[in-house]
Symmetry: C2
Subunit: 323 residues, 2 copies
């Protein structure tokens, strides 16, 4: 089942009372796509909200646009509950009840659909879309709603963050075509938005990053690089873990590094973020510890102290280099 | 005088023996634009070379494509000497003689033309082009030459480096339109090119960067941030100064920083790179020390020790915050 954007637009026109659901640990694509569609629905005179139950990350605060709520009772009736950039109940923990209120349930996503826990009334999955924001843009055009500056900022953020600023291999001609159109919107300024997203790093976050990058452990002649964020490091710099977002790509920018590993010590456990540059299968390594992901980007968690985790994970990472 | 791309293409078709000149301290736009046009001229059966007299920066080595030479005697006759991404003799030091050999002299640039030291036979200046690479692309289309993968890689590099990966305010709908076309070229892979440009940082260069960013001096409550690269720091990390390229943008990513200043100690003097985020006029500060640039990005040099330079330059930088 893969519905067309056009058929979804036709359906939406007849509905009112629409709750939109970004995934947990919301990112620019999830929140940007939801807010853009919410604003478009409101432009059509409909009641619509983005349903969240965690704080909006500081660098994405401008995406809120008065759309989000953590209280689904703002709507007496939920004619549609719509997941965007995700497709499963385990991606919206704590909001399952609100989602269940939807008389219709839908999903718009660019991840391959894997959900078995929801019976969706419609699904639009475009694995070749660089971002769910691309599908959101096409939906808004299909709704016939003019793209306002707020909508343009949401779509731009969705796309630029999910494509690594148009560098990742998910970027296509369509990606550039859509963003080219955004540049024609009155007042659109990619630099302003980009500065909001990327250039509000706290001095503590910068210090944390330089501490991590300045004390990487290299293995196998530099083909593996392992960094660590401890609770002590976070506290010392007054940071939260979400401020560590930019560190893994910086590890991968080092010449000769095939596998990058960032160990994050939370209050409960140690999470390992794994990336490989070209060929090493880190999904297999993560799966060996009960985690998952993709061949070139995966993660897993451990219940051991961080020092032990590093010793343990390095063994299969070395193996992954050979295959 | 501003010639059209079409008229330049018509002229080029009748010429043979063409030397292309990128500016000194070549960057992705200068070398990418020259190589792209050189490849297009060769595709038309013409003899053409990119004339350089410095090593190609390591991260741009893939732009060379067998086009560059430091010996203009490879051509018996130079029917055209063409500057790209620059417009003045002082931007091609050591290559003036080779340029003078051109029976015709041309200039294709996106900087406002300021040259008074050359009588050009044609000039194409597009200050609204995000990169000279945009003009090069249009010229290649006007020449009727198919865009090969090598040409696409050159144009992509020119554009993505000069736009800060499509984030800077020079980016337009046309920029995205052109890059959208590049994505349709067989084999084009933005991620591969981007990894070549950005992800080959030496471990020493990373260490240098973390040292600089980890020891910034802040002034005026954090509105001014000053970093330093000393000769000692370079030697300790086995780096050259061109490996410091990415540091200034990182300084500007810090929340609250309006002015970023990076002091670079060379063997002869100290160079100050100045950036402001939104309003502070650093061009005026640089001009006060005999330097220049733009309001938001400027530079100047000093003949004092680096410690003194910091004390001296901070005074007018504080003033610049007030205006």
């Amino acid at each position: 089942m893969n519905d067309t954007v056009k058929s979804i637009a036709t359906l939406l026109k007849d509905l009112d009372g629409i709750l939109l659901f970004p995934h947990i640990n919301m990112d620019g694509d999830a929140l940007g796509s939801c807010t853009a569609v919410c604003l478009a629905l409101r432009a059509l005179g409909k009641k619509s909200y983005v349903m969240i139950n965690e704080p909006v990350p500081k660098n994405l605060d401008f995406l809120e646009c008065g759309c989000s709520t953590n209280d689904d009772s703002v709507l007496d009736e939920v004619q549609l509950a719509l997941m965007m950039d995700c497709n499963s109940m385990n991606r919206i923990p704590g909001r399952e009840h609100a989602f269940e209120r939807g008389k219709l349930k839908g999903c718009i996503d660019h991840h391959m659909s894997k959900s078995t826990d929801i019976r969706f009334d419609f699904v639009r999955t475009e694995p070749k879309a660089a971002a769910t924001g691309e599908i959101a843009y096409n939906l808004i055009k299909a709704l016939g709603v003019p793209v306002t500056l707020d909508i343009a900022n949401c779509i731009f953020t969705a796309i630029t963050t999910d494509t690594g600023n148009f560098q990742h291999s998910n970027t296509t001609a369509r990606t550039h075509d859509i963003v080219g159109h955004l540049h024609k919107i009155e007042g659109f300024n990619s630099k302003e938005i980009s500065a909001l997203i990327y250039d509000r790093k706290s001095k503590g976050a910068l210090k944390m990053e330089t501490d991590v990058l300045g004390s990487l452990n290299y293995y196998e002649g530099g083909k593996i690089a392992v960094g660590r964020i401890t609770q002590d490091l976070l506290k010392r710099n007054g940071c939260t873990m979400d401020e560590a977002d930019g560190i893994v790509p910086r590890i991968m920018s080092i010449d000769g590094v095939e596998i990058g590993c960032l160990l994050k010590e939370t209050e409960m456990n140690v999470r390992a973020s794994l990336r490989s540059r070209a060929y090493a299968n880190v999904e297999r390594v993560a799966a060996g510890f009960g985690g998952g992901g993709h061949i070139l980007a995966a993660g897993c968690t451990f219940e051991f102290p961080i020092d032990e985790v590093e010793k343990i994970i390095v063994v299969p990472l070395k193996d992954a280099l050979k295959k």
